[in-house]
């Protein structure tokens, strides 16, 4: 079975399980994207993780859709998933309105969501609820604003000088694979 057929089957399964909360199944360049409502995004991801064996979260992408057509909501979060055993790639996208930036964290499903979500938080400003340490990662801890938003100027550098004490990172507990034998 080809990668496309497997992804098609998974998309159908997601659609029949979650019904209307799946806003759209998009096929772009032979890859399937499930656009789902923010309220069920964690359930969809958990279903993909445990039922469909998507064990690798490749990336968490935050997008500012301010100038993008067709316009749905101001922001979007996209999870790029990969199943190692069956060699299937699948993407889950959820629109995030500007007025309510809360999205449930996926860091209880994949450890890689930890830094992926921190990056989406600092660059776009998505608030991942339940994240163990939602702090700025690539920008300085004194930095104000979210640089990859479209209304942030390209030359908008900021003067930051103090050194972070890193107490939160120190106390954050980080274990192995969630649900795995060595999970801590």
């Amino acid at each position: 079975m080809s990668d496309k057929k497997r992804a098609q089957k998974i998309a159908d399964a997601i659609q029949s399980k979650f019904g209307d909360a799946v806003l759209e199944i998009e096929v772009a360049y032979d890859e399937f994207v499930a656009v789902v409502d923010k309220a069920i995004v964690h359930d969809v991801l958990a279903d993909l993780r445990w039922t469909h064996h998507f064990d690798l979260l490749l990336d968490v992408v935050g997008v500012d859709c301010m100038e993008l057509e067709p316009f749905r909501e101001r922001f979007e979060v996209e999870y790029i998933l990969y199943a190692m055993k069956s060699d299937t790639r699948f993407r889950v996208r959820t629109p995030v309105p500007e007025t309510d930036l809360d999205v449930p964290t996926a860091s209880d499903l994949w450890q890689s969501a930890n830094w992926g979500e921190r990056e989406a938080y600092e660059m776009i400003g998505i608030n991942f609820v339940g994240h163990p340490c939602l702090k700025r990662l690539l920008t300085h801890h004194e930095f104000v604003g979210h640089p990859l938003r479209k209304d942030y100027p390209v030359m908008g550098g900021q003067w930051c000088s103090s050194t972070s004490e890193m107490k939160e990172e120190l106390e954050e507990s980080q274990g192995g694979a969630p649900g795995g034998s060595s999970a801590g």
Partner: protein, 424 residues
């Protein structure tokens, strides 16, 4: 004017900026050190430490020499790649990709152009595909040479570094003969290559390849069964395949845990499926395995180069698409249409249809993905890079906690974290 004869000011710890205090309140109270026998000790490693090969910071809470807790801070080389490329044309992004993983810039060039060509629905000519495989595999050898060489230097063995860098220098000459550059190549173009192979290049590659096995033999002879090296690396920074996958590991680091995931095999591009090569895997997922997997991969890359170099066909190097590829210089200088064509491509550039794509390539470090959103204009709406070592670095805290301070250096070197790619 200050009085030259006045006694020099006596500084106390209070005179120094509080901001430079690394969370150690005791230093403020007139320099009373905590009792190291009972109190935990906090140390800060980096961001400019000679053993980190890039700027990142590790902050540790120590119990004796054991790391009880650790915090990892990155971003010191953040240059805003993803923001700046939104203001550029698609073709102008290529020089920026050189600066992601600067140890193997050509692979990044190819990865980006491959994604763009899928978006533009272009199939590059066979000759270009084979040349791209050639340069990618040469760069893979060069990248692994830096990683393994410096990793072994960090744990105290300098000679291996020179063995590898001698051979790497010769490969660098080969790449320089082709691209004219030694670090930031920008040789690949959307829809083809900047120029064709120079005369006699294939022969010089073949001649250079003959010198690599000697370097590999010299290094493996010194470290493979070396008791000191094994003590420093075996069982250090161990991770299971399941944990590594959960952390988003790909590439040689993942393969050192026993997984044989390699995009060149599972999703072959550019005729990789026609080439005979193996995927070296490790067993324990420790630093020793990561080094040995990389060394074995260098040998496999040499096998690929030997097979591919005989197969490079004649023919054009660029796709026949006037909207993407610059016309040949003779046409620009002699015909009106060529000149107009040249101007159109330079001013407008490639314009992929509106949509989103995620395309991944197996780089020396793992899966390098480009997530590109096009709004139908000549400038990318958003380019998100999925750097492989961003996610390997995520696991550093997990790997070093419970280990010794000296192991941090060995683990960091084995992960091959390149700050340019990590921080973008």
């Amino acid at each position: 004017m200050p009085d030259k004869n006045a006694a020099p000011k006596q500084y106390t710890s209070k005179d120094f900026d509080d901001d430079l205090d690394f969370g150690h309140d005791d230093f403020d109270e007139g320099l009373t050190l905590p009792d190291i026998n009972t109190e935990p000790m906090y140390i800060n490693i980096g961001p400019c430490h000679p053993a980190t090969h890039g700027t990142f910071r590790v902050y540790c809470k120590l119990d004796g020499e054991l790391i009880e807790k650790a915090g990892v801070d990155v971003g010191y080389l953040h240059r805003g790649f993803e923001k700046i490329v939104e203001t550029k044309q698609y073709g102008q992004v290529i020089p920026y990709t050189d600066r992601l993983n600067y140890c193997s810039g050509l692979v990044n060039n190819v990865a980006y152009c491959k994604a763009m060509e899928r978006m533009l629905d272009l199939e590059v000519p066979d000759r270009t595909q084979y040349i791209r495989v050639l340069v990618m595999e040469i760069q893979r050898i060069m990248d692994h040479m830096i990683c393994v060489g410096t990793n072994i230097v960090d744990i105290g063995a300098l000679t291996n570094f020179w063995y590898f860098f001698n051979a790497r220098e010769k490969l660098n000459d080969v790449i320089e003969a082709l691209t004219g550059a030694r670090l930031t190549y920008s040789y690949v173009r959307i829809g083809g290559l900047a120029w064709d192979l120079p005369d006699g290049w294939k022969e010089s590659v073949k001649a250079t390849l003959k010198e690599i096995p000697k370097a590999i033999k010299d290094v493996t002879g010194l470290v493979k069964k070396n008791r000191i090296f094994q003590d420093r690396t075996m069982g250090v920074g161990m991770i299971s395949t399941e944990d590594a996958v959960s952390y988003g590991w790909t590439g040689p680091c993942l393969r050192s845990t026993g997984s044989d995931h390699d995009l060149r095999k599972v999703r072959p591009y550019y005729h990789y499926d026609e080439v005979d090569f193996d995927i070296p895997v490790g067993a324990n997922g420790d630093v020793y395995d990561r080094v040995m997997v990389r060394i074995a991969e260098m040998e496999e890359s040499m096998r690929i180069i030997e097979q591919v170099i005989a197969r490079v066909p004649d023919g054009p190097i660029n796709v026949d698409d006037k909207m993407v590829v610059l016309p040949p210089k003779e046409k620009v200088h002699t015909t009106m249409e060529g000149l107009i064509n040249h101007f159109k491509v330079v001013i407008e550039g490639a314009q992929p249809p509106a949509g989103r794509i995620y395309d991944a390539t197996e780089t020396p470090n793992g899966e390098l993905g480009f997530y590109i959103i096009s709004d139908g204009t000549g400038n990318p709406y958003r380019i998100k890079v999925r750097p492989p070592c961003f996610y390997t670095m995520n696991a550093l805290k997990f790997l070093i906690e419970g280990g010794m301070v000296a192991d941090i250096v060995a683990i960091l070197g084995g992960l091959n974290v390149i700050a340019g790619e990590l921080d973008r």
